[in-house]
Amino acid sequence: MEKFRGVDYYGMEELLAEDERMIRDAVRDWVEAQFVPLVAEHHRAGTFPVGLIPKLGELGVFGASLKGYGCAGLSNVAYGLIMQELERGDSGLRSCASVQSGLVMYPIHAYGSEAQKERWLPVLQRGEAVGCFGLTEPDHGSDPGAMKTRARRTADGYVLNGTKLWITNGSIADVAVVWAKEDDGEIYGYLVERGTPGFGTLDIHGKFSMRASITSELSFQDCRIPAENKLPNVKGLRGPLGCLNQARYGIAWGAVGAAMACYDWALQYAQQRVQFGRPIAGFQLVQQKLVWMVTEITKAQLLVLQLGRLKDSGRLRPQQVSLAKRNNVQMALDGARLARDILGAAGIVDEHPIIRHMLNLETVNTYEGTHDIHTLIVGRDITGLDAFGAAQG
């Protein structure tokens, strides 16, 4: 198969600025040369190529849309294109960049003290330090407001108790952004450093999805942290949700990258694979699948581009991000399943990237707000009626 050729059915290229195109191309080339040759092996082993983290830092992808502290200060559209290209490689690669940028650097940048920013942002930007984001718990996923993790105030700091589960990059993180409730019942964010007594991590094994990504459990047992490790400028669920909004924005773009990878591969395969004396791309049923994919990819591309322009002009509403995350990830998942089907038996082996993308997208559908949770968010927005359901009993 030829190397990835991109998908641009509607001449979207001309809607991008020259620097946006250059940034996309730089990341595309990087992924092709540095990541694609490694991914199948890491996927098999269930590992992430951690050695690439400083290289991603050097390239400039971490915190790329933030200003100052060594960050590139790119537009949100450029940032989105980076996420697209990373996820074209693998959702795990994009997850690593999403977590570091949207879920760790963003809250420190937006809610942190000057000392916290100076300590962490430059090293996180360069990929010399890794961060993780601990919100989800074993018993509280879609409803994080009901979290059990507690932060108790002491004379000189806080004592954390609780467990966070499904935490990307948890066991390799130098710093964890942990969300916990204080005695006033409000949620606050805390920076917990690796090696702090009472802070332990454990990796989750047996994953069939997002295998080339580290997913861990974080446990806090009377874990004492100094008072200055609390994020001073945010209170309540607004804090973590603000971060998720950044990361979800990146996912909406990333999903397009995964879909483009599957489509481009399946198209090439269908043109080469001969059955009944002609390429399978010549059969109407196969064409229907390919046409569905290119149509949905084109719509999704236009969706995220306008989403990015809204974000760049400061007019973006979080519900619009929900709509795009919901649509694009479902589209990518459906498209990956069609692509898998087009490859027949070849579609189930890791010699081809499709099954890997397909399985990854199951996670992408679930994390950062499940597909259905985003349905409820948009539903509430357009009807004015809340369908989340009150707690029973």
Partner: protein
């Protein structure tokens, strides 16, 4: 030390080239344009010389239409300091000699201590511009270099060229022209900050008149481009294996004459 890098914008290596309606040119719509890979080695080497010396000025030069700005911008994103764009419809059909004359005129204006270019552009594969440029300037030239070291006071450069079975090493006085061979270095990726920074760097537009080229007619003109004849379709031998093998051996011996 000032170093001038001559780069050419060419179709991406993965492009499926089609001949346009006018059989003197290729179809350019839908083509992705890149810096010719050998020229990327040249840019990288110039940047390394500058970095090693701790100071210097790397100027990227290219000749071509508006789209060439993107290639120059890529060189600036990699780290070049400035760019010169020879952008004039009068030079649209330039052959290698006219290109070299235009570059020589830019070199005279810029007076660098060293010019580096790629060993050839991967579109027309002529591989003549570097040598012609050196000839026009009266400078020494080393082509297809695999390594180089500029001496401390920038008076000479020692270069290595790969030759059959070994490396040929020699010294050239500066100023000189070098052309880069694959293996000279591993070009860096432009960083995202580099790309943003490139927006602020100067790309100077230059017309043929600014270069006092006089007669700007190419001596070499393309008459026609021809595509390779399409490959004849393969043949599938049907029937019983025993007979098919016999037929295959016969066809390989008598029709294809390969065994």
């Amino acid at each position: 030390m000032k170093i001038l890098v001559a780069i050419k914008q060419v179709p991406d290596t993965a492009t499926q080239v089609k001949i346009s309606g006018d059989p003197k040119a290729i179809e350019t719509s839908g083509i992705t344009w890149i810096i010719s890979p050998y020229d990327e080695f040249a840019v990288e080497e110039a940047l390394r010389i500058k970095e090693k010396r701790g100071q210097g000025d790397v100027v990227a030069v290219s000749l071509g239409p508006d789209r060439v700005k993107e290639a120059l911008r890529s060189a600036l994103a990699m780290g070049a300091d400035r760019a010169v764009h020879v952008n004039d419809p009068a030079l649209a059909g330039a052959d290698t000699l006219l290109t070299a004359r235009a570059l020589a005129a830019v070199v005279k204006q810029e007076s660098p201590a060293l010019v580096i270019c790629g060993r050839q552009a991967i579109d027309d594969d002529m591989g003549a511009v570097g040598a012609q440029l050196a000839e026009l300037l009266g400078w020494p030239c080393a082509s297809w270099i695999m390594e180089e070291t500029v001496d401390a006071d920038a008076k000479t450069v020692r270069v290595g060229r790969q030759v059959e079975g070994g490396l040929e090493v020699f010294d050239l006085p500066l100023p000189a022209v070098l052309s880069a061979q694959k293996g000279l270095n591993e070009p860096r990726y432009p960083t995202l900050k580099g790309i943003m920074g490139a927006k602020k760097k100067e790309i100077k537009d230059v017309k043929a008149a600014d270069l006092a080229l006089g007669d700007a007619a190419p001596q070499l003109t393309v008459t026609t481009l021809e595509a390779l004849p399409p490959r004849p379709p393969g043949r599938i031998i049907q029937g019983e294996v025993k007979d098919a093998v016999k037929e295959l051996v016969r066809a390989l011996r008598e029709d294809a004459k390969v065994i």
